[in-house]
Symmetry: C2
Subunit: 171 residues, 2 copies
Amino acid sequence: MLTMVSKTRPAIRAKVRLEMVEAGARLCRQLGLPRSTGQIYGLLFLAGGPMSLDDIVGMLGISKASASTGTRQLTSWGAIRQVWVPGNRRDYFEVVADLGDLIRGSYENVIKPRLEATQRRLDGLLRALDHDAAEGLLDKDEAMVCAERIKYLARLHRKLQSALPLFEKLI
Amino acid sequence: MLTMVSKTRPAIRAKVRLEMVEAGARLCRQLGLPRSTGQIYGLLFLAGGPMSLDDIVGMLGISKASASTGTRQLTSWGAIRQVWVPGNRRDYFEVVADLGDLIRGSYENVIKPRLEATQRRLDGLLRALDHDAAEGLLDKDEAMVCAERIKYLARLHRKLQSALPLFEKLI
DNA sequence: CCGATCGTTCAAATTGAACTAAACGAATTA
DNA sequence: TAATTCGTTTAGTTCAATTTGAACGATCGG
């Protein structure tokens, strides 16, 4: 049976929500993340209740694929969570109220691993320097300059490593 | 008169410098900046002395255009500086030793303006909310939720604004 | 004044990432 | 079991942004 269905998609009516969606988009963009991910977060942040994938798709006018990957990303970061609506097998999403957890999580999951990677990289630089000095690829003066600069970086990095956890406590 | 010139360009021989160039490239990439800019900084960071544009071009194998814009960017940020080598009208560049100034500058020029923009945006959200409530675009419950969430964001933002300057002192 | 040497600017090309449409798979219902 | 309804995956497109080559302007030396 064929039925004619109106194709007008639901739209965001409230200005606040529009601005919030835009703000989320901008934020994600500045963080180098997909714009659509920020839109989803902005939408859910001021939503009246949980929204399904298709709700999100309809409201934002993005593809289902973007909505799917976006919600998965946000869920993995603990920014939104999946909620089950009784008697409905759709996935519904809502924002996680406490952003503090999100920030703490981003430190653990994003910042900290990156700091450790940098630490390893610094160690690698020192090893490479030894290697180059041994191979005669750097004369003594050059090796001295390199060593000094790298150690300066290491000091700075150590300061960062100790300051960031303290900073987190302030939030 | 025609002379046959060998086309082998000077290359980076020391491993340390190669890794440093790569590290700079990666860092800039993560900050959403051109890769070549990071390469230039990495190269200069472990250089034995000031380098000219053509030195940089030759060592990194990038175009002169990239080198020109990259050095200008880095100079504008105070990350590198121009030095004049007596009896030579070329531009020579070297890194600025103190990275502390660079960090402080980035707070003043990048972070702070962005925080202020966010503040304005938050105010805008509250105005939009009032408007929507007045127009009847949001029922009472929805308006309550929105107001609460936005105020929460504002509190968080205030914390950030007060914590960041303190954090900077630690670096 | 002419040629050469440098640095900058600009349009075009290349690259990389996000987005979409469509196919797919899983789960459910009739 | 066939038909539906969802969510995910993937291949291809689109779009933004870096990169580059080439032209330009400026400055110096002969």
